[in-house]
Amino acid sequence: MLDYVTSYLHSSLTPGQAGNWLWALVYILVIFAGVSGIVIVMNWGERKALAHMQVRLGPMRVGPHGLMQPIADAIKLLTKEDIMPSEADKPIFWLAPVWVVMIAFSVFIVVPFGPTHAVTDMNIGILFMLGVSSLGVLGIVMAGWASNSHFPLMGALRSSAQMVSYEIAMGLAVVSAIVMTGLGGIGPYGIGSGAGSGTLSMIGIVQAQAQQHVWFIFKFFPVGLVAFFIFAVAMIAETNRAPFDLPEAESELVAGFHTEYSGLRWSLFMLGEYAGMVAVSSIAITLWLGGWLRPFPSTHGPAINIPFLWEHPEQGVVDFAFSFAPALVMLALAFFSFFNAMRMPKHPLLKIQTIGLYAFGLVLAGVGLILLAPPVRDRIQDIFWFVFKIACFMYLYIWYRATWPRYRFDQLMKVGWKVLLPLGLGVLLVTGIIGLGPEIAAWLKGVV
């Protein structure tokens, strides 16, 4: 048994590939907890960032700067009366939120947080992700139907139409990225630099980017960028976020498909929505932004060797510098909370909050210090960069929501079918043409 447990530790495979069910379970639990953690942080972060963009303060009362607000909210939602409309289709009404959450979390099975940090690596990983994540709409349709009410029904109708039209553009963009994994082409490093072999595996895609020494967003510039742009737009539409938040459009449909939901069930929808946001962001990161790779992944600089601190002969000074990033970010956050604790108004009522903020800063600083230790530091690199990129995406989501008005239904369709779809087809075509450039040139010569 112990052998079974430890044998995995030295493998360089994901637990799924190694066939190790125990570690797979551990990974699943860790990812579940991690994603839930991201959702909690996101909940607080969204309210705070949105508030500050709108010259407000956001949550301030529960804990210092509202840090405990998500927990308070969770308790409130859990203890709320569970209301089910008497005319509702009960089993489906019950199933819909569960379904949404289940789907939102299932896709994380193949998300690679690092070369080995995934539950499993399927050879059709990206296909699995797209397939499963588009099942989420079923939950929304079920919710809309089962509520037996007009606003949810319209929300569900909008949602299904929206998903169908954006899935296609999204798929085309993804195919373009997958094609890139198999094409050396004329990258910034010259024709045929580091040609990879085509793959659908999520880990394989990131590794292809590493081998080709380029994030796919920059490959065949601007083709990769355009593909990424298409995906970025479709991704917002997929997750029902502003400016494409039509299914829940609060000013038109009250709350859209979850109008009739409250308490725990409603919170499941929210959990599903945020988890879905993280999931699609991780697809984008994996396909175009180099997954777990740090910026400039192939610049190593001169090799150095510092005993104990840095003992990777194959890596250089740049790697050494970047390895401090996680710790530095944590320490910066710690400094930020200390700074804010110092700026807290001196008021007897705020004493506990100030102390709490100092304590929070201490915890962050502690984490930062732990991350400095070489063994931890080296393990955490991949995960850190992945999560960091997710955080950037989440910020963008909030920023869009704060700034832009909402599209109307027909305009949304227009953007999907008349702009993104042709653009996606064009990008796919151009990717292929550039990628096969040498072959096409040779063939043309033969003809002429």
Partner: protein, 153 residues
Amino acid sequence: MSIAPLLNKVFMVDLIKGLKVTFKYQHPKEVYTEQYPLERPAIAERYRGLPRLNVNPETGETLCIACNLCATACPEHLIVVQSERNPATKRKEMTSFTLDISRCMFCGLCAEACSTDCLELSQDYEFALYSRDGFIIDRARMERGSEPTVYTR
């Protein structure tokens, strides 16, 4: 379509302009919220809040001469003044004064009508109550005037 608007459209200048505004306002200095019980709003001198009955600061006697002008002026007929003629001084003396602030619209007509500057709208704005009963306030409450709520833990 000329070239400049086209470029604007392709590079989404219009959308980015908006993003710039929202980004700029994230600075903590721009926050406009007042954290109410900690920071109290500065109330203007002329603020029309809870009506108050002024007393002579030296003697502590009420300034009200029970002329009933305020009661007549009030559009909602919220004021009831009862008086008694003091046989010694031959003057009318106010015995009770009630005001239903649950229906008061703080228009200030009563204070304008008052002949002795006795009735005045004070700067007190914190008179929320848990039940409707407390809203009919009597002379004692009105003479005490402002009672700002003190928040404790």
